[in-house]
Amino acid sequence: MTPREGIYGLLAEFSTPGELVRATEQAHQAGFRRMECYTPYPVEEAAVALRFHKTSVPLVCLLGGVMGMLTAFLMETWITVWSYPMNIAGRPLFSWPAFIVPAYEWTILFAGLSAAFGMLALNGLPQLYHPLFNAPNFRDGASTDKFFLCLEATDPRFSILETRAFLEKFAPVSVVEVEL
């Protein structure tokens, strides 16, 4: 493992969602791209300021659902027509209306599991380590009542002094360096 050097970014803490959104919007206009907001509940306006609206969770969910439906229906057909044909009250072997119910349930099962685990996978969770938890004020506030903006060091516009001065303009509670 390579030794961790340098910093992850600069973390500005705000007390209200309004201040956070204003700072994020300004940072985006100033050309920052590698940045992220951290809030204790979903703040839609922050996502707008980050220009992040498209997720592929619905697509993953749809694919899962289609897969579940096909799996169940084809399995039922194969079982009742070819693998284990039985005469049940004189019904045809391919009695597809009866197959709809399990196929319906597995559509929902696969779609739901895909949505849940797809969301986690796209988010990169579970994640055992993240540098942000090194910031002393992050753990107390981010999951309770504080709103954070992190400008990351990998952004080409990032420089510790100038970026700090930029963030100080929005009167944050604090700006701290996040160690890697």
Partner: protein, 476 residues
Amino acid sequence: MATKSPIDDPRIDPRTGEYEVIAPGHTFRSVTQKIAGLVLTGNTPLGWFGGLTVAGGVATLLVVAMTWLFLKGVGIWGVTIPGAWGFAIINFVWWIGIGHAGTLISAILLLFKQTWRNSINRFAEAMTIFAVVCAGMFPLIHLGRPWLGYWLFPYPSTMNVWPQFRSPLAWDVFAVSTYATISVVFWYIGMVPDFGTLRDRAVMPFAKYIYGLFSMGWRGSTRHWVRYESASLLLAGLATPLVLSVHTVISFDFAVAAMAGWHTTIFPPYFVAGAIYSGFAMVLTLAIPIRKFYHLEDLITLRHLDNMAKVMLATGCIVGYGYCMEIFMSWYSASHWEFFMMWNRMFGPMGWAYWTLILTNLAIPLTTLWSRKLRVNVVYLFVLSLLVNTGMWLERFVIVVTSLYREYLPSSWGTYRATRWDYMTFIGTWGLFTFLFLLFVRLLPMIPISEIRMMLPQSKIRPGGADAETVVEETL
């Protein structure tokens, strides 16, 4: 609202005339501390230990009854021919119906943007899962040879035998197992951000470790929240048709059979409405003592009780319509068997069960719930919720037993009498349910913290990006 409440009641919003969803004066930190504090506190209330002991004691009845059942077989129950379905099926339908209100609250009310549901959805979902645990046991122990229960699932066995997909009993396996899985996933995904909060607020290293593990490294990133919200909405959209299908499939177990009183098309909607009716009654049965015991009157307010009572009133009316339609169809079908079944149900040897359920499911709730005074009367609602749950259990008893014990051929008529093992199993599941629920309120956040934060006035940002403080001053 027809009845005017006193205007000086601070819990009533003067603009709408309704009770506030959350009592005014809370901040992000105060709701977080209040809810997380219930879990992270070092002082477990003595009453909780008392409750756990009693519930655990009652749950041992289930262990004893199951042990005896596995040793002796289903002959220890009251099931005979013609009454081959007894307590096990009644309890299965009753418990799974109770679970449905949890999914309704967490999924359907989310889709309808009923934000008041946020306070009650977590423990309603917990109720769903524990009810499904109790329900799922019954068909398995009813198999006769429960250790072969895995034969129900389609898997490539060396015997080359597969399930028979034209039978509603095979559909049941798919419906109930999907329902249990999706309920658990929905519940867990909903708790991930709150696990993050608990991880950050925990003091004990072990609690930090466990909640940290369950939070999966959640850090509240905005991009994560967008995907999270999208997944929540999708899960709600999937759980809604699922919950409707589960009780529909259960009603098919009856409706597909050619028995008088079972073979009707009204069963699916009537079963679903009845399930939601009894489920909301169970939510009230749980919510009323909990909000009192943990002092959560600020978060589970009279508005919640009022709204739940309204849902009960609406679903109760649908159930009442179902009862009327059953009576009408037994006459209109011009079938001798249907007509006799209804006569026997009302005036036969088990007529008492029918009239008790009419009293507790229709006569009492549907006459009194129109009054707002009674809808916000905590004691009355608690008693009523117990009555409705009794009535809904009797409804399933009436459906299962009265159609079976006097079927087509009078020469094969019999009766149904539950044995002590039936009662022990049933009462034992109450203990198991309460035991699991008590563990839940102690170890997990019973109210979704992040969703409550969203309901506070401070969370709103004015269009144009103005600072939020001005909004706070206006609303508080």
